[in-house]
Symmetry: C3
Subunit: 310 residues, 3 copies
């Protein structure tokens, strides 16, 4: 069996994990990124192409990640002949505010407050979020007084949220249909360009993500997050049968209580930050990428591949 | 032999470590946290109870952590029938300013300056610290001019410290009576709600801890910290015979020199952040939890359990 | 074969790595640092001395790190009888602005803009960088209006750079002459005293490094950085034959694009932060220190030691 993906986002851990679980690997890479990926012994079959849609006809198991929808479009993915790890109909749930909110509300997970422009107070802080996963770019923080002018130039769907001063934590889950078990595999925080203000505040800076750091969450916060994860899995089982298969993430602001600010309906880039919680379930360190490959291997061994692939 | 603890703080690494060293594990968990902990294969015996004091009569080796004093009270722990890993009389040393200062002073470790209200200057910054380990909650930073008003509402013992602008580093030690060796096993920094100001300063925020990040300390700083650790172990041997057994932590502000701001007289939650220094001593990665279990195993093998258990 | 170094900077990972690859180890340590280093089982031969120049006549393979030039001087190192891992003539390339710029320019790596005092605008922010590797100390951020006064007191060579608000990322490479392969082994960010302003900005603080944190870089940024690394290796092959052997680092400001702010022409202290990218090349976690030892072992096995030692 061969595990295939596109060279970006979290493909390194996906392919490394696949190799460690004994699979062959195939990677679709654009010519300008070839040098780096071709230097890595984890890639068995490197397909250099400008056209990523070639993967839609791949004959292996395709593992989608956070660049798939941007590269290929939802419709093409849903119609593709290739076999995808996970529920490919789940991928769309992060792409609009409406779907995201519906999922979180069904799960009973508290969300950040959305504010209408009419309600905005001039001296309060707001966070303007652009719709869809964007690696943080485009979002901005602003005082109410400057909000109307700044949103007047936006060309994409957005919404205004009440800004929550506190830390932002991204929680990485894996739901295993084979084991019927939800695993909480890690927590990260984003490294943003805006973190440049930590040493001395200069001016509001872009929220564009440049990387991720692992966070060992205060243990007393984990049970509640695990309950949220469980509720999310149950909600998606109703909303998008057969529900979540494999990785997803819940994104939270934390100022003493958790409020969801988003979801990832596939492997989240924050799982690139190495975390140890997988040892709790497996006695060894598994990246999310390897966890995916482990599920494929378990499914294959039990002749249940159909339950984890769509 | 069975290793027992309460489901909170650092119980995950304690039980994972115990399993890896070949022990059975028992965990006391409140009903509302049951779902998460019962999903983990590291727990052999899950005791679901609202009443954590059940652990005081446990027939295994109880490993105390940072939630024990809050849940059970010092007196109950000191009188408990159960066997505790470590010197149970050491646990109290973090609970009051007076004990903490006495330990640090005896060890010759420089401390943050404590300021009397009369000495406060209106335009300088101070840090008000609430007594006892509290996960950071309640502490606050304030200008001298606002200090009197703000402390007038405090209902708990506190003190005023000169604020040290710089980084705060938490150093995790393990003293092994079996090997007669002090090990420096890791350094972390806290992830606080107040870190929400890193991207853009909004207002002073709570110092409540939400997690921990590992820090690889600049190597040239380690020898001095190791000397402080050694001095602390020697001081405690006199102050609370038989002294420190197992884990403790020293908490420092660093602005070019180190000043202690506190101690943990048990495993510190910051050791939840995975660190590599244990490889220096053991050639493999041991969490603090596993290091505890390793000590138990070494003691058991040499028939010296009495030296690490009280 | 014995691997020797000086007790500072990154000697822990160098010796741990050497032990894991099967070498004997020797460490030169000053008396005041003896307690810590002598507690570590990774040191076979501890040479306690005030005079680090003893290592210049060592009969093993000396692995230089970021403290060597400060302790021993470039000239003494270049003339030393001892065998050094790597190209000892490469060590000087980080020590002056002129060499650093020449290397970066030859490689075509964009650099931070250097500003002449005459061009400074009073209301803009600048970063004053002191020449040579200094662990961050001495550098400062300042408004144009205060710049002339502040630099008037500087006694060391410096330059004025346009301040880039954003994150600062340090990328760790290893060039293997044995495998003819460039490996990108990790990324870190520095933990500075100035990070004390993250929770509440107090005043501009020293940029002195107190530690390092691993960053999992956004994967889409890695190919470009790998290309920069490759270009740097090629440039140094011309500028300082036989070029880079082993570890080096490129230091970047990132605000949406990368601009180099410096280099390390030896193992960089930021590689003390544990990173997982080595698994991509080796299937297991190797520190930079161990990667050096691995190269020595590979060279020895193929009887090619002369290619990695000067």
């Amino acid at each position: 069996m061969i595990v295939s993906t596109i060279a970006s986002h979290s493909s390194l851990q996906i392919l490394l994990g696949a190799k460690k679980e004994g699979f062959k690997t195939r990677l679709y890479v654009s010519p300008k990124r070839r040098a780096f990926y071709s230097s890595l012994p984890i890639v068995d079959d490197l397909v250099v192409t400008e056209d990523m849609s070639a993967i839609l006809n791949d004959d292996g198991i395709v593992v989608p990640h956070g660049s798939f929808v941007a590269y290929l479009g939802l419709e093409a993915i849903e119609k593709a002949k290739a076999k995808f790890f996970g529920n490919r109909h789940f991928l769309k749930w992060e792409t609009t505010f409406e779907l995201q909110d519906r999922a979180l509300d069904r799960a009973g997970i508290p969300r950040v407050e959305v504010v209408e422009l009419e309600e905005v107070k001039s001296d309060e802080l707001y966070f303007v979020r652009i719709e869809g996963p964007r690696g943080g770019s485009g979002h901005f923080i602003a005082r109410g007084s400057e909000l109307e002018e700044r949103i007047s130039t936006l060309e994409e769907p957005y919404r205004i949220e009440r800004f929550i001063p506190g830390v932002y934590l991204y929680v990485h889950f894996f739901y295993s249909p084979i084991l019927e078990r939800l695993e909480l595999l890690g927590v990260d925080e984003r490294v943003l360009i805006a973190d440049g203000n930590a040493r001395w505040p200069v001016k509001p800076l872009p929220y564009t993500i440049s990387g991720n750091r692992a966070v060992a969450l205060r243990e007393s916060l984990l049970p509640k997050l695990y309950d949220y994860g469980t509720a999310f899995v149950e909600a998606m089982r109703e909303l998008e049968p057969s529900g979540v298969i494999g990785p997803f993430a819940l994104h939270f602001a934390y100022d003493g209580s958790f409020r969801a600010i988003g979801i990832a309906s596939r492997i989240d880039g924050g799982s690139n930050a190495d975390h140890w919680y997988s040892e709790l379930y497996w006695g060894e360190r598994l990246s999310m990428g390897r966890r995916i490959a482990r599920e494929l291997r378990l499914a294959e061994e039990e002749d249940r591949l159909g339950e984890v692939v769509t």
